[in-house]
Symmetry: C2
Subunit: 434 residues, 2 copies
């Protein structure tokens, strides 16, 4: 049902998809009372029966201001919807009167699994609608009432162009593991939530690709030629700006020659001022006169005001350390030497590699990708921060006049040209008259 409605959704004009999203954005504020009433039920239930800890409770709770910023986020996605489906990526004149076009199309049916945050629902629904994909949503049971109302509003918005069934809420009774085996029905799974959720889904998925990152073990390497001022700014921001984020620094690598220099002391002091708990890597521990706790593993995602500090002898050793212990998410070098920086940028095999920039920039909004679908540490399809285009694939359209393969054989009359043609604007034709 979702696939068939999704096909209808993808054949709408981009304007029509935008209109649905704007309608949903409007409903989020118009029906504020209804949404907040349902949300209040969830929150009360969570407090009385589930004993939910305050940070989770905060994520579960909606407010007029949350709804209003959600609504304006949706309007931005509606703008992105104008340029997603049907974009021509390549045009080739294969031969006389034989033209090839590669155009963007939706992936098909997405399954998004999300945890307590109910504001995820309209956001993900808008991304799916913008990219012409059908969507199966599986939310946490803590937000069941809120999700039900938000899903009703989504369907109400979809109804204006007759594609009500393109977004479906999967009953909370269905087991996630069972959903992950529906490889004939689901084309891509996107888990939104904790690393543990993503890891579980990656293990459960059979034959269905999963877009997401389970670990964010990001490194900042301080080279011997680093500017002290930049080091202090970048280390502080990478760790302290939002310690729970996947793009926060978990390991600080310091060039050996910096040990027992004033720079080194300043870095350590600055982390202490910010109350960052330091775990010493084995090599670092062996150099120390004072003794912070030793790191249990060099592959830890602390997700808090804690980090590992380790010493490396050289640039190459920093690269090797990152390859051995990192998660290929985001890794940073701080140095004033351009050759050193370029070597690091080329050699480090991660989704994002930065020079003299905080690791926190690894983010779709900061990259300017518009709506963010997530961050992927997969090595195929989409890698790093993923915008709407991560929800698209392509198809090839070939238009001819009766051309056959045998026309091009040795005895045939035709010759291949394979000329690149300029790419025009959006495909204009969205004919639904049949």
């Amino acid at each position: 049902m979702a696939r068939s409605s999704g096909r209808k959704l993808s054949s709408l004009a981009p304007d029509q998809r935008s209109e649905i999203i704007c309608q949903l954005a409007a409903l989020l504020t118009e029906r504020e009372d209804q949404i907040l009433a349902a949300n209040k039920m969830d929150v009360e239930l969570a407090v009385t029966t589930e004993n939910m800890p305050p940070p989770l409770l905060k994520r579960l709770s909606l407010s007029p201001s949350k709804l209003s910023s959600l609504s304006s986020g949706l309007r931005q996605i509606a703008v992105g919807a104008q340029e997603s489906v049907g974009r021509v990526l390549r045009r080739t004149r294969v031969a006389h009167s034989l033209e090839l076009e590669q155009v963007t199309v939706p992936i098909g049916v997405l399954l998004v699994i999300f945890e307590a945050r109910p504001d995820c629902l309209p956001q993900v629904a808008a991304l799916a609608i913008a990219s012409g994909n059908a969507l199966l949503l599986k939310g946490g049971k803590e937000a069941a009432n809120t999700n039900r109302v938000l899903h009703q509003l989504t369907q109400e918005a979809l109804t204006i162009h007759g594609v009500t069934d393109a977004v479906q809420l999967v009953s909370t009774r269905e087991e996630v593991e069972d959903l992950c085996r529906l490889d004939q029905l689901v084309d891509l799974i996107i888990p939104r939530g904790s690393s543990q959720l993503v890891r579980d889904i990656q293990h459960a998925a059979r034959g269905i690709p999963v877009l997401g990152h389970s670990d964010g073990i990001c490194h900042v390497f301080v080279d011997v030629e680093a500017s002290v001022e930049k080091v202090l700014k970048i280390v502080r921001d990478s760790k302290c700006d939002y310690p729970a984020a996947c793009n926060s620094m978990e390991t600080l690598l310091i060039h050996r020659d910096l040990l027992r220099t004033p720079v080194f002391d300043q870095i350590i002091d600055s982390l202490r001022t910010e109350r960052v708990k330091i775990h010493a890597g084995p090599r670092f521990a062996s150099f120390l006169t004072f003794s912070p706790s030793e790191a249990k593993s060099l592959r830890t995602e602390y997700g808090d005001l804690e980090c590992c500090v380790e010493v490396v002898d050289s640039l190459q050793e920093a690269v090797d350390h990152i390859h051995k212990y990192g998660s290929s998410h985001t890794d940073v070098i701080v140095t004033e030497n351009e050759d050193t920086a370029e070597f690091f940028l080329q050699q480090v095999d991660s989704a994002c590699v930065f020079w003299n920039v905080s690791s926190r920039f690894s983010d779709g909004y900061r990259f300017g990708l518009g709506a963010e679908v997530g961050i992927s540490t997969a090595r195929i399809h989409a890698r790093g921060p993923v915008g709407l285009e991560g929800l698209l694939t392509t198809k090839w359209l070939l238009r001819g006049e009766g051309h056959t393969a045998s026309d091009f054989s040795d005895q045939g009359s035709m010759k291949y040209l394979h000329e690149n043609l300029p790419i025009g604007p959006l495909v204009a034709s969205h004919r639904n008259s049949h």
Copy 2:
């Protein structure tokens, strides 16, 4: 070992990768005697102990002319190697002195599993080298001797730039199923061989993406407004040019209004002239006065001079039939009506959708993609005929001057610009001096 050598391979200059491939191309002809001697052993073994059927034996056998055309194919791949790794796809000025670049990089470690044809080995090795990927090769045991020699020559070529271990031959004793579970070591699996091989691999792979297509159930739909001349050319070529190919027509859909017209008779006569065995779909069978065998399933890949013929009432019914029974590989409409054609091109959800062209054009060489990696019916990463770029992913490079996320907060001094910058030529920097 392969991953580490692959990283070295990917940091070579494009010229160096081309050089390795050209060296391999040269070795294929220089060491012809050695290769053919090993191949003779395999062929004799296949004849005496395995009782191999002639078509398979033909694929197993190498000859001077096969080696020479293989060699020239490799030289073409060497040209493609110049423009694969390190291509800049996107440049953005994120803020003052903060520039983002998205560049192509290799996927990592590929596992290619291939059957009897030993000429697959140097070809796949060249594709991997061109795209900077490490490669694990698992060939059929029928070609063990030939593969061993071809692999030695590949390593000899790799040695000129110190990356001998980037291409590894996996012992024939290893079970394919075990290899398909090495999700920490292998980034992409490419099965080259029968549909059955691909299906087996797709089922065995755990958490590793598989590039390939298991089925090629391609349709040609003859609309009521089709040109007779084009229909006859396209139907004949789609079925008869190479019936065993995945892009051959398996089902011919005919608009109901063409039944009992001269066009219809001409189509059937033409198929009979070519000795194509017709299997009637249930609706078609009900219209017939003569009675060909009934199709056992509308979802059959005959792979031979056989096809299913079915009748549909309308364009929409043709689209629905293709969605229900097709494999989303390649589907064709024959019509003179542009609106009808565009509706079909938009609505049919297949990797390749053609108008008035034989289905046989669904091919990397014919599309002008240069070296062909294969054809993919997956819905993410690469879809349809896949060139070298299917073996690449991207990474994001961000170069700043100490920028932090908090510089951009409400209290911060910086503003996002997100200006698209022009994309220059290939990244020049391949510094290996450290």
